[in-house]
Structures are given as structure tokens and as C-alpha cells.
Amino acid sequence: MSLGPYASFIMTSYLMAAAVVLALIAWIVIDYRNQTRRLREMERSGVVRRSGRSATDIA
């Protein structure tokens, strides 16, 4: 597959898209881990929801 004289523009476009999408995925995964970790810490310290259910219980 030859990308011709403008290969750098094409490659940069695809790499930029991959980088932004991967950054979005990483941000969401890290945020999820942070929230669940902080909720578990809060529950371990004795603060629980009024319903008594675990805040990280999503099933």
C-alpha cells in the first residue's frame, strides 16, 4: 500500500485519532477505578448509603 507524497499527513491523521481515542479510553478507565476505590475506602470507614447497599454494587 503506497500512500504517495502526502503519506505524512495521512499517517499523522490516523495516529492522532488513535492517540485521542486511547486517551479517552484511559481517562474513563482510570476515572472508574478512582471512583470505585474512593467509594470502597468511604465504606470501610463506616459511611454507608441509607439503603444499606454497597455504593459500588452495580449488578
Binding site: S2, L3, P5, Y6, S13, A17, V20, Y32, V47, R49
Partner: protein, 259 residues
């Protein structure tokens, strides 16, 4: 399951947990097919291989507007129906929409330089999309500036609905004004003008990016619900601590909120 059922965050989280693996898998499969088709697509007789930029530029440009439309519908849910998850949906979509709009602008510039001879031109299409990007950033800033999610939600919903006026301007800018950007070649009366060799990979990539948005949006909504649960627990803890501290010691420095 109805929208009313989904008003319960716990039910929504259960549904998201079931859907997310399937959506992520389907997204990965469609990206694999779309990227393979994009790589194998022939060169355009005028643009050469740079036509391959279209397969990522156009889906991102579509999504930049689609995400704002989703946020506008969610804003109506906040203002009119007061759906408990509406502002969660709007807030979670904003950073994802900003990322897609950023990609539309960058890949458009990288496509424009070899084809137009310039990265940027202040024409109606490019400028209106840049305004959309700035509005996304403004909304994200607004959500971060107001601590109470309910107050932030109403202000953000109004701003989102006002910003929706920009969507038809973006869509029809190439018809209303003389722009460097080409007119619509897929979503137009009379059907697409693209050859099937380009149209099919483009549509597959568009569906893949749309599924990516749905996957990321569901996951980001789940995070936002957990963030609000954490905030509620922190407030409960602060209230409990404040009631334990007697009136004599109130006003003394405490570590409330430093959870």
C-alpha cells in the same frame, strides 16, 4: 425497559454493566473491518491516497454534531422532565464530544493542507465547527465551576440548548455561504455522490465511531453516577461529623470535606 425504569441509577448501572462488554467488542470488530477497508480502498483520481483521511475525518465531524444533539435531548430531559439521569448523560457526553470535534478539526486541517494548500481558512464551515469546539470547552468549564450538580445542570442545559442553534449553521454553512469546504456528498437530497469503494468503508467507520461513542458514553455515565454517590457519602459524613461536634466547638477549624 422504559426510560422511567432507567431513571433509577442502580438499574441503569446494571444495564450498563451488561451492555458495555458487548458494545466494546462490537466496536472493536467494526473498527477492524473499517480500518482494513480503509487501507484497501483505492486512491481517488484527484486526491490520491489523501482520500483515506476522509474515513476518520467525516465520522468525527458527524459525531461532533451528533453528540451535541444527544446533549441537547438530555438538556430537555433536565429542564422539562427532570429525568434524574439526563444531566448525568449531558455532562458525561461533553468531553467525548469535545474530543471528536478536536479530531474533526485536526484531521480536516491535515487533509486541507495537501488539497487546499492551507491548514486553515476562516470559512463558514470551519469557523462554525471551531465555535462548536469552544462551546464544548465552555460547557466542561461550567460543569467544573459550579460545585452543586443540580445547579450546574440547569445552567449547562440552557447553554446546550442555545448552542444547538449552531448545528444547522454547521450543516448548511456550505450551502448558505461560499466556502472552501466542499458541500455535502453523503447526506444530501439525491443520494450520496461518493463511489461505493469509498462510501462503504466510510459508513462502516461511521458506525464504528458511533458505537465507540455509545460505549464511552455509557462508561462515563457510570463513572458520573459513582462520583455523585461518593459526593453524597462525603456530605453524609460531613453532616454526621458536624452533629458530633458540639455547639461550643463549632466554628473551630475542622477537617470537614478533607476526605
Amino acid at each position: 425497559m422504559t426510560l422511567t425504569d432507567l431513571a433509577n441509577p442502580t438499574r441503569f448501572l446494571a444495564l450498563a454493566a451488561r451492555l458495555l462488554p458487548w458494545l466494546a467488542g462490537l466496536t472493536a470488530v467494526l473498527f477492524s473491518i473499517g480500518l482494513a477497508q480503509s487501507a484497501l480502498a483505492p486512491d481517488d483520481y484527484q486526491q490520491g491516497a489523501t482520500v483515506k483521511i476522509m474515513f476518520i475525518h467525516v465520522p468525527n465531524a458527524w459525531l461532533s454534531m451528533f453528540v451535541w444533539a444527544v446533549m441537547s435531548a438530555a438538556s430537555l430531559g433536565t429542564l422539562v422532565w427532570r429525568h434524574p439521569l439526563a444531566d448525568v448523560a449531558a455532562k458525561s457526553a461533553a468531553p467525548i464530544g469535545a474530543a471528536f470535534t478536536f479530531l474533526a478539526l485536526v484531521t480536516g486541517a491535515l487533509w486541507g493542507r495537501p488539497m487546499w494548500g492551507t491548514y486553515w481558512e476562516w470559512d463558514a464551515r470551519l469557523t462554525s465547527v471551531l465555535i462548536l469546539f469552544l462551546m464544548y470547552l465552555g460547557l466542561i468549564a461550567l460543569w467544573r465551576a459550579v460545585e452543586d450538580p443540580a445547579r450546574a445542570a440547569r445552567a449547562a442545559a440552557v447553554l446546550t440548548l442555545v448552542g444547538a442553534l449552531n448545528l444547522p449553521i454547521i450543516k448548511f454553512s456550505v450551502d448558505w455561504w461560499n466556502t472552501l469546504h466542499q458541500p455535502a456528498s453523503v447526506m444530501r437530497i439525491g443520494g450520496p455522490t461518493l463511489d461505493r469503494a469509498f462510501l462503504i468503508p466510510l459508513l462502516v467507520m461511521a458506525v464504528a465511531f458511533t458505537l465507540l461513542f455509545l460505549t464511552l458514553h455509557l462508561a462515563a455515565m457510570r463513572n458520573e453516577i459513582l462520583r455523585r454517590r461518593l459526593r453524597s457519602l462525603q456530605m453524609m459524613q460531613a453532616r454526621a461529623f458536624a452533629s458530633d461536634v458540639g455547639p461550643a466547638t463549632r466554628g473551630a477549624p475542622t477537617q470537614l470535606g478533607a476526605v
